[in-house]
Each structure stands twice: as structure tokens, then as C-alpha cells.
């Protein structure tokens, strides 16, 4: 008996020691800065005028939340997030079905579909930019030699296109994991009972896949909300196409205003927390890896 509890103790100690480095790094680089960020957000702190640093309470929050640029960026971010995630879900599901079911060249399709996932976002963004720029672009030419990146609506459409192109394969892979869980017998039985392919999809596949879909949606929504690379390369946020991430970056690099920048950081963090909370509580997305909900 003594030996067993000794072993348990050793196991606990080993477990803690093995996890400690990873936990320390993660906390040092995220938890500490975000707390520091809250502290900075309560100060007037502009690197151009460091002498004027002082505690100003919630003044920075008032500044940001009453600023129309912030709300424009917030609206743009929300719009891009919602539209692109919806399109990604539809196309991702289609691609998942193709990768899962195709009778021809399955390996090739899976390989090729990984290219948009793996490619550097900035590289893809440059490709789209040169395709749509009026000086170089084959796509701009197709649509009558216009300069779509210089108009707000078309620029937003191109940003969404670039975002969707890049992330559909990732969405598809997450959904494919869900598809693999759909029992083949169940589909066969349904088709024996005369269910149409559409009925099989909505009545058999979707319910089984629901957890996978919710997880994929949660991750993609949070990821889309922090959109930065595509906008930076495609429009640099011109014509009111900037996201909240672009605002934060511009404020830091051009404005060097750490107080206001930190306020934006905290606000984005809160927005993301609200989105995650809604997904988990309202839609019942099981947090992946959460031992309680597992199998």
C-alpha cells in the first residue's frame, strides 16, 4: 500500500514538472501582458510625450468608445467576420464532403486543398492584390479595367474573398473530422428508407456533426475577428476597410499612444471573450479538449 501512494506522489510531481515550463511561458507572454495592458489603459501614456504620463482612469475608454473610426473599424470587422464565416461554412462543408467521398484522386485533392491552408497569408494577399490592381491584374481586367481595391464595397468583397480562399480548407478539415464520425450504416439505413441525399445530409449527417461544426465555427469566428494580414496588404485600411486589429496597429506604430492602444487591446480581448462565451453557453459548443465533455 505504501508503495502505491509513493508512486502516485511521484506521478503528480512528474506531471507538474512536465507542465510547468509550458504553463510558465504561456502565462508570462499572455496573462501578464494583458493585465499590464489593463494597467496601461488607465493611463495617459504617449511615447512622443512620455513626461505627461499620468493616471487618467477610464478617460481612454471614453476616447476610444466615442471615436467614430473605432466604431467604423468595429463594424467592418464584424461584417467581414460574419460574411466570411458563413461562406466558409458552406464552402468548407462542400469541400469536406468532396475530400471525404470522392472516388477519384482522393490523396491529390487532400494535398492540393492543404495549399491555401499552409501558404503564408501575406503571400496569398499579394497574389490577390496584384490580381485585382488595375496596373497588373488579370482579374481587374476581366471586370472591365476598373480599380476595385480603391472602392469600399468591392475592396471589402476582395478582402472577404482572400480570407475565405485561405481558410476554407481549414474549415473543411475540421468538418471532415466530424464527417468521419457519421456511421456509414446509418446513412445506408436512411437511404433504404427512401431518404433523399439532401434529407440524409440534414437529418443524419448534420446532427451527428453538430459538435464538430460548432467547434469549427467558434475557432473560425474568433480567428476572423482578428483579421489583419489580408487588410494590411490589400488596402492598408484605406476607404474605411480597416479592422479593429488594423486600428490597434496603426495607433501603436503611427500614433505611439500606448494608453489608447492598450485600451483597444482590452476592448478586443473583451469582444473575443464575449464571442467565445456566446458560443459555449448559447450554442453549447463543447470546448475541445475539455475532459468533462469528452466521449
Amino acid at each position: 500500500m505504501k508503495a502505491v501512494s509513493e508512486g502516485k506522489k511521484a506521478e503528480r510531481r512528474l506531471g507538474l514538472w512536465l507542465c510547468a515550463p509550458a504553463a510558465l511561458v504561456m502565462i508570462a507572454v499572455t496573462a501578464y501582458p494583458i493585465i499590464y495592458s489593463v494597467w496601461l489603459s488607465l493611463q495617459r501614456y504617449d511615447l512622443r510625450f512620455p513626461a505627461e504620463r499620468e493616471f487618467v482612469g477610464l478617460a481612454n475608454y471614453v476616447t476610444v468608445l466615442s471615436n467614430s473610426y473605432w466604431w467604423t473599424a468595429f463594424g467592418v470587422t464584424t461584417f467581414i467576420t460574419v460574411v466570411s464565416v458563413v461562406i466558409e461554412l458552406v464552402l468548407g462543408m462542400a469541400l469536406a464532403l468532396v475530400m471525404h467521398r470522392t472516388l477519384v484522386a482522393r490523396g491529390l485533392i487532400r494535398t492540393v486543398a492543404l495549399i491555401p491552408y499552409g501558404i503564408v497569408t501575406v503571400v496569398a494577399a499579394f497574389s490577390w492584390r496584384y490580381a485585382w490592381e488595375d496596373t497588373t491584374g488579370y482579374l481587374a481586367q476581366l471586370f472591365g479595367d476598373s480599380a476595385p481595391l480603391t472602392q469600399r464595397a468591392s475592396a471589402l468583397a476582395i478582402i472577404i474573398l482572400a480570407e475565405v480562399w485561405k481558410t476554407v480548407p481549414f474549415m473543411a478539415l475540421l468538418l471532415m473530422a466530424g464527417l468521419a464520425l457519421v456511421p456509414e450504416d446509418l446513412l445506408k439505413a436512411a437511404s433504404m428508407d427512401g431518404a433523399t441525399p439532401w434529407q440524409r445530409f440534414t437529418k443524419v449527417m448534420l446532427p451527428v456533426m453538430k459538435p464538430a461544426i460548432l467547434v469549427a465555427l467558434l475557432f473560425r469566428t474568433l480567428d476572423a475577428f482578428r483579421i489583419f494580414d489580408n487588410i494590411f496588404v490589400l488596402t492598408s485600411g484605406a476607404q474605411q476597410t480597416g479592422s479593429v486589429s488594423m486600428q490597434t496597429y496603426n495607433n501603436l506604430i503611427r500614433g505611439l499612444n500606448l494608453g489608447v492602444g492598450s485600451t483597444m487591446s482590452v476592448l478586443i480581448f473583451l469582444a473575443v471573450a464575449v464571442i467565445a462565451f456566446l458560443f459555449v453557453k448559447v450554442f453549447g459548443a463543447a470546448a475541445p479538449g475539455n475532459d468533462g465533455g469528452k466521449r
Binding site: E11, R12, L14, G15, L16, C19, P21, A22, M26, P33, I34, S37, L40, V98, R101, T102, L103, V104, L108, T111, V112, L114, I115, P116, G118, V120, T121, V123, A124, F126, Y130, A131, A140, Q141, W165, P169, L173, L174, M176, A177, G178, A180, L181, K188, P211, A212, V215, A216, F219, D229, S245, T248, Y249, L252, S265, I268, A285, P288, G289, N290
Partner: protein
């Protein structure tokens, strides 16, 4: 699938058509930037999808400037170091999560889930300030640290999923033979876990290689600027009168490793990405 005789060929044909759509979807933007990188200065603006005149001039140009070579060195160095550290730390933690019983396990899983969802832009301003005062701003470690942090949840999830698949009787057998848990980990499990670790390393490397936000916010000179960040500085720089060709060539160069990974390790990457997801 219940397809019979003659209809089978029709079904195959239909799938082949759908496959072609997927191929075009995935490849056209990539081929376009490849095409631009081979165009001559004169034909760069001809808007033709395929170059009319081919040249290697753009590649010669980027490889003869320090600006690109230094950025490439930074990209490779930073991504490799971050990958090695993240995978080592991730392996240790994932082993503990998959195999050991200890207090705080659920907390660790929860924390790494939170970090996976964390808006990276929220860290840009505080990290900028912290790294400036610590002297880490615009250095390799200044980028490696955030990369490790955001790669760790990915590494921990993927690895713990792989570790659950390993035949653990072998570990028990090793323990019966008198090995301590640490020895069992090193001698028996580590070799079995190698494929999962390798897959995770690929995913983590792609993640680090891809980053733009930190690369552009936490650097200010060529000493630590990675290629994705350096690309946007090719714009209007005096060295390149028309940067389109050189940007494209540089973009193609950093796409090559990704294409190679995808070609050789497609199965592993798919397994790695989906293993983390099914558990939900």
C-alpha cells in the same frame, strides 16, 4: 456506396469534374504569383495570366540584395528555434496530460484553450512596451517568445491526441521491469511518439513561418524582420523601382517549403489537424 455497374463510370466522371474545380480553386492564386515572378519588367503589366516572356531576373535580384537574404535567414532561424522549443515543451506537457494524474491538469488544458482563442493583437501594444524595456524589441527572442506561446496550445492539443493512441501496455511493461515513469517516457514512449511529434513540428513551423502581425509590430530593422514583414517594405523602397516582380519572387521562395511539406506530409498534416478537432 451503393452505385451499380454503368452508373459507376458516370459517378467517377462527376467526381473528376468536382476534383478539377477544387484544383483550380486551390492553385490559381498560387500559379498567378508564380507567373508574376517570372515576368520581365516590360511584360509585368500585360495582365496575362501566363508570362509572354520568361525571366529569372526577379530571383537574381532578390538573392543579390541583403534585404531579402537577411529576412530569409531571420524567418528560417526564428521559425526553427521557436518550433523546437514549442515542440519540446508541448511534448512534456502533452505527455503529462495524456498519461499522468496530477492536480491542475484541467486548468492547464483550459488555459491553453484560452490562449488558442486569444486575440493576438491584444498583445501587440503591451508586448511592444515590455520588450522595449527588456531590450527584446527587434531581436530574435522578441519574436520567438510570442511564437512559442501561441504555438503551445496547438502543440499540446495535437500531441495529447497522438499520445492517447499509443499502446501504453508497453509503458507498463517497462515499469514492471523496474523503470521509473521518467525512464518509461524517455526509452519507450518517446520513440513511439516520434511520428506525432514530427507532425506537430510541421504544424508549428507553418504557424511561425506564417506570422505577420508580431513580425511587423515587434521589429523595426532588418536585424529581425522576417520575410512576410519584409515583403511590405519592398514597396516604394529605392532599391526596387517596381517591386511587383521582386515581391512575387520573394513570395514564391517562402512558399516553396510549404508546398514541400504539403506534398510529402499531406497525410500527417491532415491527421494532425483533425486529431485535435474530433475530441470536441
Amino acid at each position: 456506396m451503393a452505385v451499380m455497374g454503368g452508373t459507376e463510370r458516370a459517378a467517377k466522371f462527376r467526381w473528376a469534374l468536382i476534383d478539377v474545380v477544387v484544383l483550380v480553386y486551390a492553385l490559381v492564386p498560387v500559379l498567378w504569383i508564380v507567373s508574376l515572378s517570372f515576368k520581365t519588367k516590360e511584360t509585368l503589366t500585360d495582365k496575362n495570366f501566363i508570362p509572354r516572356e520568361w525571366t529569372l531576373q526577379n530571383y537574381v535580384e532578390i538573392f543579390s540584395t541583403n534585404q531579402f537574404l537577411r529576412a530569409l535567414l531571420n524567418s528560417v532561424g526564428i521559425a526553427l528555434i521557436a518550433t523546437v522549443i514549442a515542440v519540446v515543451l508541448g511534448t512534456m506537457a502533452a505527455y503529462a496530460i495524456a498519461r499522468l494524474d496530477f492536480p491542475g491538469k484541467r486548468l492547464l488544458v483550459g488555459v491553453s484553450l484560452l490562449i488558442a482563442m486569444f486575440p493576438q493583437v491584444s498583445l501587440v501594444t503591451p508586448l511592444f512596451e515590455m520588450e522595449r524595456s527588456l531590450g527584446l524589441f527587434d531581436t530574435w527572442p522578441g519574436l520567438i517568445l510570442p511564437y512559442i506561446t501561441f504555438a503551445l496550445p496547438l502543440a499540446i492539443y495535437t500531441l495529447s491526441a497522438f499520445f492517447r493512441e499509443i499502446p501504453w501496455e508497453l509503458e507498463k511493461a517497462a515499469k514492471m521491469d523496474g523503470a521509473t515513469p521518467a525512464q518509461a517516457f524517455r526509452r519507450v514512449i518517446a520513440p513511439l511518439a516520434a511520428p506525432g511529434v514530427f507532425t506537430t513540428a510541421i504544424l508549428v513551423f507553418i504557424f511561425c513561418w506564417n506570422d505577420f502581425l508580431f513580425a511587423i509590430s515587434l521589429t523595426s530593422t532588418t536585424s529581425s524582420r522576417t520575410v512576410p514583414a519584409a515583403l511590405s517594405f519592398f514597396q516604394g523602397s529605392s532599391q526596387f523601382e517596381d517591386p511587383t516582380g521582386t515581391v512575387s519572387a520573394a513570395a514564391v521562395v517562402i512558399t516553396v517549403p510549404i508546398i514541400l511539406f504539403v506534398l510529402f506530409f499531406q497525410r500527417r498534416i491532415v491527421a494532425g489537424l483533425t486529431s485535435g478537432a474530433v475530441k470536441g
